[in-house]
């Protein structure tokens, strides 16, 4: 505001001044709204509207082809009490989050630690470990199903030469999830790069101080490296858990290929979850409900439950992280 305008404003009566301030405030709000409008529009159209519609459709019987019919909480009742595949889907997803995600974080961190200590060939090894992350999930899964084929896959052939009768891998309900976890660990390139950057960023003087105090490599790792990179660990865990809750593509492809049964058009048979529901993760169950059985209303109920669980799990992790995540500087 220029000096003249200030002087003019000072001359105005109090009510007029208030009105002018209010107008200016509205103009500011309008400007903020205008600047935010692209994001607001995107959020409303692509997130808000689908969310509200999903919540509504979860209370209906909707088959994609005819108008939704109001059902109240019948879908939720079917979900918790009658659907024999709901709890297996939940258990599989929890297994993945509880076992595959920590393994993924541990491997990414371990590789990053090794690479941080490498004296030569850092660029080469970094590329080698990162490359799998570039493989499209479908192609990577196809490759793993081929490699781990119990009859003629290279892995079991090599194990056979060593006198070991290899497992049935994707054909066995006991081994299918570990096989998928193996695939997940193989593709930890993205997390590895982030961990490597974090490990290399740990101030050297902290290690030197710890060393002067007599700390060995394990103590330095425990008391220097881990606390310093704890925000990155938190990031990896949250990302891994969210990806685990949405785990679909690899499970879908592995089940269909390993089942080895397909019609010419590809959809007369439902192989999802093969073998014996062991790869029926929650998002696969949701897909089956929506697009195999045409129970879109029920699929929306499944989606709403997933939303609540994802929100709760992420909140718990973030709340719990206060105890073990250390931020350098004042920002938290």
């Amino acid at each position: 505001m220029s000096q003249g305008a200030v002087a003019q404003a000072a001359r105005l009566p109090a009510t007029a001044r208030r009105r002018a301030r209010r107008r200016a405030a509205w103009r500011r709000r309008g400007l903020v709204l205008l600047l935010m409008s692209p994001w607001l529009a995107g959020f409303s159209i692509f997130f808000g509207y689908p969310l509200v519609m999903s919540a509504y459709l979860s209370l209906t019987h909707y088959d994609l082809l005819s108008a939704p019919q109001w059902r109240g909480f019948a879908n939720y009742h079917y979900l918790f009490h009658d659907d024999p595949q709901f709890w297996p889907g939940v258990r599989n997803t929890l297994w993945f989050i509880g076992i595959a995600v920590p393994l993924q974080v541990a491997f990414a961190f371990g590789i990053a630690l090794m690479l941080a200590r490498a004296k030569r060939g850092l660029g080469f090894f970094r590329t080698v470990f990162y490359l799998p992350a570039l493989a499209p999930p479908v192609a990577a899964t196809l490759g793993f199903v081929y490699l781990l084929n119990p009859a003629n896959g290279p892995v079991n052939i090599i194990l056979g030469h060593l006198g070991i009768d290899g497992p049935l891998w994707f054909q066995s309900p006991g081994w299918a999830k570990p096989s998928l976890a193996l695939l997940q660990i193989w593709g930890v390139g993205n997390a590895m790069v982030i961990f490597l950057a974090a490990v290399l960023d740990v101030p050297q003087h902290l290690y030197e101080s710890a060393e002067l105090d007599g700390a060995g490599p394990l103590r330095r790792l425990r008391w220097v490296t881990l606390p310093t990179i704890s925000p990155v660990i938190l990031f990896s865990i949250v990302l891994g858990v969210i990806q685990g809750l949405q785990y679909f593509t690899q499970a879908y492809v592995a089940a269909n290929i390993a089942a080895g049964q397909a019609s010419q058009a590809g959809d007369t048979i439902n192989n999802l979850g093969y073998p014996q529901d062991s790869t029926l993760f929650y998002p696969v169950l949701l897909y089956q409900a929506a697009f195999v059985n045409n129970f879109m209303g029920y699929a929306c109920a499944l989606a709403m439950v997933l939303l609540v669980v994802a929100f709760a799990v992420t909140s718990i992790i973030l709340w719990n992280s206060r105890r073990w995540v250390h931020y350098t500087g004042s920002a938290r």
Binding site: D82, Q264, F291
Partner: protein, 444 residues
């Protein structure tokens, strides 16, 4: 001057006539091209079979110069549903999944053909009863059969001769005995050649919902009230016990390992075609696949064996087929109907198509057509199709969902994870009834 004026007038008249002629000609041509209607037809066939279908459609197009018919192959039910939902449906749709007719007809996704059938006086008695059943839902006919499928036994004659077996089995106890004789293992006990693969989920013959075995045991999925009846019908537990006994004889892990190494079903490395499976239940289309991929394979076809206690069922089999109809939202409904009518009722079209992909002709008269190329191995399936005991899977509003639940149980059963078969089947019955209720339709 008068001569000049006359010549000028004559030139003007000539020019006007020429211009009019040119204009009229181009206008006529324009009208002709503007009238040409494009019909889009979606089908599930691909590769060789799609080429045959296109050649059949080309015959129709030759008679209808005003049509430009575009055939799109490799279509599945999800694509059909999505197209109808989005309002971008083609003019004609077809599906391999006759079990989906409950969804397509029941929800109005495919339009009711009754007015068209009445208008053109189409005689429905030309279609066999089973085909009429799987092309309607609760009396609403939204589809017609376009060739049909029946399931029978394929057996490798060379392996039969080696094992000293003179004829294909006719009962399940004979099948078991022959399967054991035909099986070859390596020194470690792993299966090299399997006599008969009973695994639920192995190729199209062994759908885990047991559909293809139901007519062989006289088994019914539902009782008279439309309630699931797997526990109360003794035939199901008999079938499951037979299957489990044979699985146990091979060893579950051995069969799983063998299946993992068996080639892709719809490829030249199909395990029966390469001699790794001695007997197999499959559809009639395999005759054409073998001819194209392994013409020197020495094999025969026969009806599937039946339950020892129901020998009268011998000759029957599981039956289903491709369904074709008009989707909601299609643009050129009348022309599309004419094409559907021709494809499903014209003897020449059905015989040519049947010769090409070796599917069963779906009308009585086309089954007798002189255009049909005789082939004793294919004729087996035509007889199975026409057997009065042959049956198809029940149509429900829930589409694939009941089959998924039944299949979920059978794969656990064969893996030895079900301790009490009857209790397990009671649970499956409850699950099937609940999913049918969930679909809001039930069983007609």
């Amino acid at each position: 001057m008068r001569r000049v004026t006359g010549s000028l007038l004559a030139a003007l008249v000539l020019g006007a006539v020429l211009a009019a002629a040119i204009t009229m000609g181009s206008a006529h041509a324009g009208a002709r091209s503007a009238k040409k209607t494009t019909l889009t037809v979606w089908v599930g066939w691909s590769a060789r079979e799609l080429r045959v279908f296109k050649s059949v459609v080309a015959d129709y197009a030759k008679q209808h110069r005003d049509l430009n018919i575009k055939v799109v192959g490799s279509i599945n039910d999800t694509k059909i549903t999505n197209a109808i939902r989005s309002g971008n449906a083609p003019d004609v749709v077809s599906s391999f999944t006759s079990g989906m007719v409950g969804v397509f007809c029941g929800k109005g996704a495919w339009i009711d053909l009754k007015p068209f059938l009445s208008k053109d006086h189409v005689d429905l008695s030309q279609f066999p009863k089973t085909s009429l059943y799987y092309t309607q839902f609760k009396g609403k006919r939204c589809a017609l059969p376009l060739l049909a499928d029946s399931y029978g036994l394929y057996y490798n004659k060379t392996l039969f001769k080696k094992a000293g077996i003179s004829r294909p089995p006719r009962t399940f106890s004979e099948l078991t005995a022959d399967a054991k004789k035909l099986t070859q293992r390596d020194s470690s006990g792993k299966i090299k050649v399997i006599g008969y693969d009973p695994y639920w989920g192995f190729y199209s013959g062994n759908f885990a919902d047991m559909t293809n075995y139901a007519p062989l045991f006289g088994a019914q999925y539902y009782d008279g009230k439309g309630k699931a009846a797997l526990a109360s019908r003794f035939a199901w537990s008999k079938l499951l016990r037979w299957q489990k006994n044979l699985m146990d004889w091979y060893g579950y892990s051995n069969v799983v390992r063998f299946n993992a190494g068996a080639g892709d079903e719809f490829s030249a490395s199909n395990a029966f075609e390469v001699g790794k499976v001695a007997m197999m239940m499959d559809g009639e289309w395999r005759v054409a696949f073998i001819k194209a991929e392994h013409p020197n394979l020495n094999y025969g076809t026969a009806p599937m064996p039946v339950d020892d206690a129901h020998k009268n069922l011998y000759g029957a089999g599981s039956v289903n087929g491709t369904i074709i109809g008009l989707p909601k939202g299609g643009h050129n409904v009348d022309q599309a109907w004419e094409l559907v009518r021709w494809l499903t009722t014209n003897d020449h079209a059905l015989a040519k198509f049947s010769n090409g992909i070796r599917n069963v002709p779906s009308t009585r008269s086309s089954g007798r057509s002189k255009e049909l190329k005789p082939d004793p191995r294919f004729a087996t399936f035509v007889r199975i199709f026409n057997n009065p005991h042959s049956a198809t899977a029940p149509i429900t509003a829930a589409g694939a969902a009941p089959g998924t639940l039944i299949g979920r149980f059978t794969v656990k059963w064969q893996a030895g994870k079900v301790k009490n078969l009857h209790k397990g089947l009671v649970t499956v019955d409850k699950q099937v009834d609940k999913v049918n209720a969930q679909a809001g339709g039930g069983v007609p």
